[in-house]
């Protein structure tokens, strides 16, 4: 399998080099939105004496600087490509090979994140320095935060594929994707850190999977939780990942029965 991943990685790098500009433009999404929200919340905090709930200016800066990186690492974009593959019949050649289509996406996903991280990391550092971010991070937070980011990325990836699999039934996956992304926008920790969401919304956010893709790993990574809380949140991520994997297996197998390879 290592050989397969290496060959797919070489192929993917060649494609990315063909479309250099597009590759880096997509990476812009990782940091444009967090910077806008940081600026907005800082001005709100300024009007309230420099604090917003339990967050000081430096905490907000730390959260959004890290969320630039975490958004980049945990983002999922496979639904768009998958819908196109199903509609154009491009999925068929992949289904005919002894390699699950998921593997192509894993390589694509990881490689894009690694390559464009070179652009995103300096921006995150710049934002942290510019807005005076303050981290309360020990080695254990970095270890747990890293585990949480990996789980968040896996969760986002697998849930992305569950949504993408709707392409087996409908040719208008975009509508579902928009619904999914708008919901994530509210509950993942993009619009505000999970702790700053108004009471019921915060509770809902911790009950849904979206927060475990962004807000939770970001908070663990910036040292916002004690070790016990972090471990509990990581356990919740693992449970959601298991749920997503089971859901994906069910949806994928049912979807293959529906696949009519239209036009393929």
């Amino acid at each position: 399998m290592i050989g397969v991943y290496r060959a797919l990685a070489v192929q993917q790098i060649q494609i990315m080099l063909q479309y250099r500009v597009a590759t880096f433009l997509y990476a812009l999404f990782s940091f444009v939105r967090p910077i806008i929200f940081l600026a907005a919340w800082l001005s709100v905090a300024a009007s309230q004496g420099g604090r917003l709930g339990s967050f000081q200016r430096s905490d907000l800066a730390a959260y959004y600087a890290l969320s630039i990186l975490v958004t980049h690492l945990t983002t999922s974009f496979d639904f768009f490509e998958f819908e196109w593959e199903v509609r154009q019949g491009r999925l068929s050649p992949k289904l005919l090979r002894p390699l699950h289509p998921l593997h192509y996406a894993i390589v694509n996903n990881v490689l894009w994140k690694v390559v464009t991280a070179a652009m995103v990391i300096p921006v995150a550092v710049l934002v942290a320095l510019t807005f005076g971010a303050r981290f309360h991070v020990g080695p254990i937070d970095i270890v747990l935060g890293t585990v949480s980011v990996v789980l968040g990325a896996a969760l986002s990836f697998v849930f992305g594929w569950v949504v993408a699999s709707a392409a087996f039934w409908t040719t208008r996956v975009q509508a579902l994707v928009h619904f999914y992304q708008r919901t994530a926008f509210i509950f993942a920790g993009q619009i505000a850190p999970l702790a700053l969401l108004p009471g019921p919304l915060s509770a809902i956010a911790y009950a849904l999977p979206f927060g475990y893709m962004l807000g939770v790993p970001t908070d663990i990574l910036r040292g916002a939780h004690d070790v016990t809380t972090s471990l509990l949140l990581i356990a919740a991520q693992a449970v959601w990942l298991l749920v997503a994997a089971v859901l994906y297996r069910i949806v994928w197998n049912a979807g293959l029965r529906e696949y009519s390879a239209v036009g393929a």
Binding site: G3, V4, R6, A7, L8, V10, Q11, Q14, I15, Q18, Y19, G89, R90, S92, P93, L95, L96, R97, P98, L99, L256, R257, Y259, S260, A261, A264
Partner: protein, 334 residues
């Protein structure tokens, strides 16, 4: 008995299609109550293919050929029926099955558009786990047969249709499948390229013994490659047998071509059969098979000195197929 590498029993595929009448009211009604229509693409077909055979799959557009190939390659689940290909149920898509088959579609690419074909082939080498020596020897053979040398280094998007098809063949056969399903492999190619692809398929089958199930709208492909054909129409299997017997089974007539000396009258030929054409002293007649001997004798006897030449043949395979698909002939079920 030779091993059956493709074994199909009562295979059926029914598509459920959303249906809506025209007009705004029908559109609004369909929002709350959707109506569906069932379309039977393949209806209870059964056949077997032995190892090493090249079988032509004939039928007009919408006959069910491609749907059948997709079911046999594991892309589609059938509505009912059974099939085994190299010992596997195709739609379970088991590893051993996927390593042993290939499906090539003339109108679809399996190659990555933006990179050189050679790079796509390397990825396939890893996916199929082909040892370097085996990969190189297969690629060498395919390069020789398809003249791929100058093409492998070019991005696929820069290849002409014919060149791309050659590279598609290389990608489809690099893992030396036991069974290859070829769906319109010469579609859109010029005559010369069609001929080269045909030559390649025949030679590859001869060298490697790959079993081939081929669909094509070009009868030249079928005649050149297939000793056996399966005819399918409206999802039903109409004929399964030797190509040479197709005309006998499906066309109840023969064609008598009569060439007359200059100025000779031919009106009396109208009584002996259906005149298909009459040009510059050459009259082509369609005559029922059972009357051919008697009518031929009458022509020779009655035309005497006016007759320059006469020949009796089975109708052209294209004509037979056309008549079957147009509903003019209702052949017996095999």
């Amino acid at each position: 008995m030779t091993e059956l590498v493709v074994d199909v029993h009562d295979l059926t595929k029914v598509y459920r299609v959303h249906e809506r009448s025209e007009g705004l009211s029908a559109t609004l009604r369909s929002v709350v109550r959707r109506s569906f229509r069932e379309i039977t693409a393949v209806s209870g077909i059964s056949f077997g293919v032995e190892a090493g055979e090249v079988v032509g799959f004939l039928g007009p557009n919408g006959a069910g050929k491609t749907t059948t190939l997709k079911m046999l390659s594991g892309l589609l689940y059938p509505t009912s029926g059974e099939a085994r290909v190299i010992g596997h149920v195709p739609w379970r898509r088991e590893d051993g099955f996927l390593r042993g088959i290939a499906l090539l579609m003339g109108n679809r690419t399996q190659l990555v558009w933006d990179i050189a074909a050679a790079d796509s082939l390397r990825v396939l080498q890893e996916i199929y786990g082909l040892p370097e020596e085996r990969y190189r020897s297969t690629l060498r053979e395919l390069t020789e047969l398809l003249d791929l040398g100058p093409l492998l280094g070019k991005p696929v998007r820069n290849l002409s249709l014919g060149e791309r098809m050659k590279v598609e063949f290389a990608a489809g056969l690099i893992h030396s499948p036991r069974v290859a399903f070829l769906d319109e492999p010469t579609l859109g190619l010029d005559v010369s390229m069609q001929s080269r692809i045909r030559g390649f398929v025949a030679e590859h089958n001869r060298r490697s013994g790959t079993t081939i199930l081929l669909t094509s709208h070009y009868m030249d492909d079928i005649v050149a490659l297939c000793k056996r054909v399966i005819v399918i129409h409206h999802g039903h299997l109409l004929y399964d047998g030797p190509l040479g017997e197709l005309a006998q089974r499906m066309a109840p007539y023969k064609v008598i071509t009569v060439t007359l000396h200059d100025g000779a009258g031919s009106a009396f030929l109208d009584e002996l059969g259906t005149v298909v054409s009459r040009e510059q002293g050459v009259v082509v007649l369609r005559v029922p098979r059972e009357s051919v001997a008697e009518r031929t004798a009458r022509i020779v006897r009655d035309l005497e000195g006016s007759l320059a030449d006469i020949s009796v043949e089975d109708p052209a395979i294209e004509d037979v197929i056309d008549r079957v698909f147009a509903g003019a002939a209702v052949p017996p079920r095999s």
